[in-house]
Structures are given as C-alpha cells and as structure tokens.
C-alpha cells in the first residue's frame, strides 16, 4: 500500500548501487535516526543510561564481530579482549595527551586494537572453523592476563582499575562523573551512526564481497584472485577496530570506569550470542541481536515480579534471577528453531510481505 518498489526507476549506476535503493527505506531510516536523537530529550535518565547507551555500545561490538564471523566466516571468541585493548589504549592516550579531544582518542584507540586483532588473526590462515576459536581464546586469556599484570596500562593506579577523567566537548562534559546521561547518549549515538554507515559501505563494496567470497569458500576465492592473507587480516583488523571503539565507549561513556574483569570471556560469548541471534552477515541483525540479548533480561527483571504479584506469590530476587536465566536460555533455543538465520531474516520476510500487502502475493 504505502511500501512499493513500483515507479522508482534507477537512471544511473550510482543510484543502482545505493545502500537504500527504496525511497520508503530512506524515509524509514531517517525517521528512526530522528527518533533516536529525539529520545535524548524525552527519555528519562534510567532509559538512557541503563538501556540505550549499553544497547548502542553492544550493537557496535556486534557489528565488529559480525564483520569477522558473519561476513568473513572466521569464528572469534576474543571479542571481549579486543574491546579491552581499545579501552586501555584510549585510557593511556587520554591521560598522556589530555589536551587533545577525547572523541579523537576514542577513534584512534580502535587502531591499537586493530593492530592486536590482526596479530592474533595470523593463525587464521592455517586454522579453520572451531579450531580457530582456540587461537582467539588464546588472545582472550593472554590479553586479559596482560590487563592484570602490566600496571603501566593503568598508569600504576593502586586499584588497578580504569577511571574516567573529566573531558569536555565544546565546554560540555562528555566523559567523567559530571557528564549527564543525555550528553553521553548523544555522543554514543553519533559515533555508532557514523561507524555503522562506514561498515555498511564496507560490506556492500568490493571489500565486503571479498570477505563474503572468503566465507563461502576460501579455496575458490583464492583461485579467483582474492588474497586470503590480506583479506582475512583486513577482516580481523576492521572487526577489532569496531570492538576497540565499542570497548572505549563501554568504559568511558557507559560505566565511567572499569576493571579488567569487564572484558572477560563471558563478554565475548555475550557478543557472539547477539551476532548469531541477530543474524550472521547482517548489520541490522547486530542491532536486533543486541536489543534481544541485552534488553530482554532487563524487561524480564521488571515483568516477572509483576507477573507473580497478583497470585500472592512473593518470590525472592534470586528466584527471579534464576528464572531469567532459564527463560533467556529457552528463548535462545526457541528463536534458533523458529528462524535459524536470525532476527534479520524475520525482518527481511516482513519487508517482503509489506511490499505486496494487502494482497497475499
């Protein structure tokens, strides 16, 4: 009815290779971005601080892992550590050169984790599939050990923790204890939008096609003239860049300070869940996955006690916590059975149906 391809003609190649070829898609995306910015002014600080900021940060990390696992087909369990590299690099840069704006350092810190990521990506040339997971697990545990054992990384801080010093943008504090959730949300939102746009261009272009060719069959891709070494390492570097920036955002714009424990193996698994539940090889899936895996437990934590209330059953916080685990686990299995290609596939099916709506086909 209102979502139609008909009548939209492409008259040049640029229009043909656009990311959003449909006018309705462009309007929809514009509205979503607008709504996201509007949320900063109408949402309360709980919504912004406890839901939206972490959701965006995890979405960014999921996009990073999706580039590696979804687009290039290399399984990684070291996401948490790569996020950590970004956070620690950002901390070192921020405290060593306080006069440079923190936004610059957040973007630059990604390059450090990209370098580390490419280094640990080297074994991927020889090792494949689940066997590769061990190489990235080595990265995970080795880097985490470095975070604990090298006090230089935290400027010989006695507590061994990262803390966020006060940093401003145009005189408004964006990092540190005095920054309001609203400004932090706006900064995170802008960074995530910019990086998502770049990722979208990467995966739809020549580089993305190279990654996909490697994923589908690396031997055949090599015969077609794609260099596996450069392509795989590039995927590792770009993926780690996104994870590193997400890690820096996580510590300085969400937690406002963190210990090494934030970047443990569970964080890596957490991001992997988001990517698989959201849909491998889909950017919008990364957002869906992050929403489901991160926001679902929060919603359950609010809904479950309310469900028990009318029956006069009072349940302890620990029981709610256990039920939450069970429900999340069961839902993961349920979603995989219903749609093994992830939530992104459901989204695609929905759009297809909308194209012909109100007719069945």
């Amino acid at each position: 009815m209102f979502y139609r391809e008909a009548g939209q003609f492409k008259t040049n190649y640029v229009a043909d290779s656009a990311i959003f070829p449909l006018r309705e898609d462009r309007i929809g995306i514009g509205l979503i971005v607008l709504a996201a910015y509007a949320l900063a002014f109408i949402g309360n600080s709980f919504l912004l601080q406890a839901v939206m900021i972490p959701f965006l940060v995890f979405s960014l990390a999921s996009i990073g892992l999706n580039i590696l696992t979804g687009y290039t087909g290399l399984l990684s369990l070291g996401t948490g550590a790569f996020m950590g590299v970004g956070a620690y690099a950002c901390y070192k840069l921020m405290t060593a050169f306080p006069e440079v704006n923190v936004i610059v350092w957040i973007f630059v810190s990604g390059f450090f984790s990209a370098a580390i990521g490419a280094l640990f990506g080297l074994p991927s040339l020889r090792i494949k599939g689940f066997y590769l997971a061990v190489a990235t697990l080595a990265a995970q545990f080795f880097l985490q050990w470095c975070f604990i054992r090298i006090p230089w990384l935290v400027n010989y801080n006695v507590s061994g923790a990262l803390d966020a010093p006060l940093r401003t943008l145009f005189g408004i504090p964006i990092v540190g204890a005095t920054a309001t959730p609203q400004t932090r949300y706006l900064v995170v939102l802008t960074i995530v939008i910019v990086l998502t746009l770049i990722a979208s261009n990467l995966v739809h272009g020549r580089i993305g096609r190279m990654w996909i060719a490697i994923r589908d069959m690396d031997l055949a891709a090599e015969l077609m003239g794609i260099r596996p070494l450069q392509t795989k390492l590039l995927a590792f570097a770009v993926s780690s860049y996104y994870c590193g920036v997400a890690g820096a955002l996580l510590v300085f714009l969400w937690y406002g300070g963190a210990e090494y424990d934030v970047f443990n193996i569970n964080q890596s698994f957490f991001i992997l869940f988001m990517v698989i539940i959201g849909g491998l090889g889909s950017l919008i899936g990364s957002f869906f996955g992050a929403a489901l895996i991160f926001i679902l437990p929060i919603v359950l934590g609010i809904v479950l006690p309310a469900l028990f209330e009318p029956f006069g059953i009072s349940v302890g916080a620990d029981v709610i916590e256990h039920l939450r685990f069970m429900i999340v686990g069961a839902l993961i299995i349920f979603f995989l059975i219903v749609e093994p290609h992830g939530l992104a596939r459901l989204w695609q099916i929905g759009k297809q149906k909308l194209l012909v709506w109100p007719f069945p086909y």
């Binding site: 074994p123 190489a135 985490q144 256990h322 069961a330 993961i332 299995i333």
Partner: protein
Amino acid sequence: MDILYKVFIEPFLFMGEAPDLLVQTLWEGLVSGVLYALIALGFVLIFKASGVFNFAQGIMVVFSALILVGLYEKGVPAFLALILAAVSMLVLALVVERVVLRPLVNQPDIILFMATFGLTYFLIGFGELIFGGNPREMITGQLLLPQGTTEIDALGGSIRLQHLDIAAAVIASIMIGLLAVFFSKTRIGRALRAVADSHKAALSVGISLNQIWVIVWFAAGIVALVAGIMWGARSGVSFSLQIIALKALPVLILGGFTSIPGAIIGGLIIGVGEKVGEFYWGPLVGGGIETWLAYAIALVFLLYRPQGLFGEKIIERI
C-alpha cells in the same frame, strides 16, 4: 643475555637440582590432565556422533554432580543417588534430543553450537532454582572413594600422592577403556561410528539417528557425572566449576575433535605443560600464566597440524 639465561637455562638447572619437585609437578600435571581428558571426552563423544560442538558439557558436569549431592542430602543412599543421577542424565538426553536437536537437524554447525549455549543458560537457571547457588561438598567417603595421602621418599625428597588422584586416574582409565571397547566391539558402537562418518549413509542402512543421539548424549552425561564426582571431590561442587569446560577446549583442539585417544593424550600434554610451565617459567613473568598457557600450547601444535594431533585430515574440494 640475562633474560635468555633465565628462560632457557635456569629452569632446567632447577629441574636437575630438585628431581623430587619435578616428579611432583609432573604427577600433578598428569592428574589434572586426566581430569581435563574426562571432560574433553564428553565433547568428543557428542561431536563424533552428531557434529554438535556441545558447549553445555561443562554445565552437565556441574548439574549431574549437583543432582547426586542434592539427592544424598535429601536422605537417599549414596549409591542409589548415583543411579538416580545417571537416570536423570538419560532423561536430559531424551529431552535434549526431542526439544533441541530434532528441530534443528541439518542446520549449520554454528547454529547447533549456539543452541547448546541456550541449553547451558537454561541448565544454570534450572540448577540454581532447585539446588541453590551455594557450593557443596562432594560425598567422597560415602561413594567409597579413598582419601588421604601417601608420601614416597625418593630422589632426595618426598613425593606426595593423593589417594583421590590415584583413584581418579584409575577410574578415568577404566572409563576410557570401556568406551573404546564399546565403540569398536558392540553393535551400537559400530552404528555410532557409521553416523559419525555420514548421517545420510547411516540413515540409508536403517540406523535411527534419533536413537543414536540419545545414546551419545546419555554416554556424555555419564562421562559428565564421573567428571563431576572427580572434580567435585577436588574443589567442591559449585557453578563456578563449569568454567573447566573452557579448560577442556584446548585439550579438545589439541587432540582433534573426533578422536578419543586424542582427547586423552591432549589432556595429558595440556595438564603437564600447564603445571610445568607455571611452576618453572611462571615466576619470570609474575605468575598466573596457567590461564592462557594451555591455549598457547594448543596453538603451537595447531600451526603444525591444523586438524589437531589425531583429527581426521581436512580435505578441501571445490
């Protein structure tokens, strides 16, 4: 030069000076290696027969041990509780096959891997809901497992052998032997190997995949129960025990996903390498290297044999 001396010469001199310490370290490494191998064995069984990388093996270890201890605390005799725990593993196998595996048949490996993550979460919540999150003591004495230590005076010092460790090694060896016989000599074992080779070919000669899956998950459950008793006796039964599943990963990868001897030899290499590395080289970098050394060892082996020591050779065709 000094650092080279410290890395390449001093530890070996120290080994020569105190052979009793070396033997002690090797023994401890071997014991923990056997226990790693027990957990890796559960992974291998399931991977061989269904191609599923079962992340839930770690929580199955905890879960089975919790059922055993929980039933005993309710007043069930120890050996009856053992049998009931085994029965509940059978129930778990039946449920998993029906609810998780059957609807997901023919899906990519990573999706099945993810499904076992869901299972892990579910079992963590379920187990804590029933048994509570407090760590418990394993009922070692009631299961007639020996306790205490023997000290052998040899090599200019004394070597301590925990009786429990000896028992663990013996039981694990028996278990592995039984599994080897089961796989190579019995009708079901042959069917399992057929399924591992090719699902379709096995189906075409009349082997029921569903039945085979229940059997391997049950076998993996039994292995988990034994591993749970052994680990529980060493470090108590609690949910933190499930992270030993992560310790089994390098073992598994080192030995190859599909090989039972690989799991055992991989376990021993990792166990010994970890303990020796931590004891002799750990202090050089401030200790605590046990957390990642196993992965580094596995990585070095993998660079020479990408399919693990005993894994089937990966042949790629276009």
